[in-house]
Amino acid sequence: MREPIEPDPGNAGVGKGGKEFLSLLPQGKQAFCFMKIRLNGQDYNIEEELSVEELLRRLSILPERVAVEVNLQVIRKADFKCFKIKDGDVVEIVNFVGGG
């Protein structure tokens, strides 16, 4: 069985140096089949379709200060609860940083 802690081996270069990968699975849960998503340029495996809200919750990201794009489509905050992230989706989560 594959370790449900991601990203998958294709991205082994990222997160080196003691950084812990975030699991997209609920704590303690073991998954047996996976779907692949691409999140902020990295591949992750998730065990089921997730709403945007659930994804952000698992990543400990506050929804108020971010914007989410799925397959180049901006997801309105009002739709975070109902919009499901599916197998193969390309997800971007962005926020504001210092800039001129």
């Binding site: 990543l59 504001f96 210092g98």
Partner: protein, 257 residues
């Protein structure tokens, strides 16, 4: 005196706008922004750090209730990218304002004006309040105004160059060409540059590197604040014409001849 800057119904209390890039840390950003007296700051849109959730957020230091957040599309080289970043920024933030950048060249960071006009037109139609970063060309400024820009932001000199207002005459012509506010963006290196922009009659000045890159950014922020106020007052006061020869300030009358 009523000298408020109002753009699309939004009142800006300060005519100095500041960027939040290139600071040592968020604490310094906060102190410099406070010292500048501004009420509008620019920010960039970038990926959230998925791995390090403990890292602090800019908005922990720059309170969006206190400052107007003006997101930029910095780093975008195509219309499509600029639109994408602008739409994400609107969803991440709380306003329709965007400082639109469509960059044409990596070395100069000069704008791709064809792309800029196109992106301005599309975003304006989508209800954005578009502040396009443009070059100091009056014709482009006019095209941007026609495309629906809320203001135009001509550069004084290349971004981060600190070369000052390289073509004050073009800025002057832009001021006479467009009805929308003119905000000098980029190139301001020190207080006198900011004052010159304001003396020309510009509505505001946006500064990032000129403050963030100074040896003492907080002190420079304060200097810029005073320079912008001084330049604005001088513009409103109306300067004397320049003449080649002297005109005595003291009267001849009563001299001991």
């Amino acid at each position: 005196m009523d000298d408020r800057l109002i753009i699309r119904g939004i009142e800006f209390k300060s005519r100095l706008w500041v960027g939040t890039g290139k600071y040592k840390d968020f604490e310094e950003t906060k102190r410099a922004v406070e010292a500048s007296g501004t009420d509008v700051v620019t920010v960039a849109v970038r990926r959230v750090n998925i791995f390090d959730r403990k890292s602090e957020n800019l908005l922990d230091y720059i309170d969006p209730k206190k400052y107007k957040i003006l997101p930029n599309t910095a780093g975008c080289y195509t219309v499509e990218d600029a639109l994408r970043y602008a739409r994400l920024a609107r969803e991440a933030g709380i306003s329709d304002m965007v400082k639109l950048e469509v960059i044409g060249d990596e070395r100069t960071l000069f704008p791709d004006v064809c792309g800029l006009i196109k992106a301005t037109e599309i975003l304006a139609k989508e209800g954005f309040i578009v502040f396009p970063y443009t070059n100091d060309d009056p014709i482009t400024a006019k095209r941007l105004e026609d495309a629906g820009a809320a203001a135009v932001m001509p550069l004084g000199a290349p971004i981060g160059s600190g070369l000052g207002i390289r073509n004050p005459y073009n800025i002057k012509i832009i001021l006479e060409t467009v009805k929308v506010p003119v905000i000098v963006d980029a190139g301001v290196g020190t207080a006198s540059d900011a004052a010159i922009a304001m003396e020309l009659g510009c509505d505001a000045v946006l500064i990032n590197t000129g403050i963030a890159g100074a040896k003492d950014p907080v002190k420079m922020a304060e200097a810029m604040k005073h320079a912008v106020i001084a330049g604005r007052l001088a513009y409103l006061a109306g300067r004397i014409p320049k003449k080649l020869y002297a005109t005595a300030s003291s009267p001849f009358e009563g001299m001991l001849i």
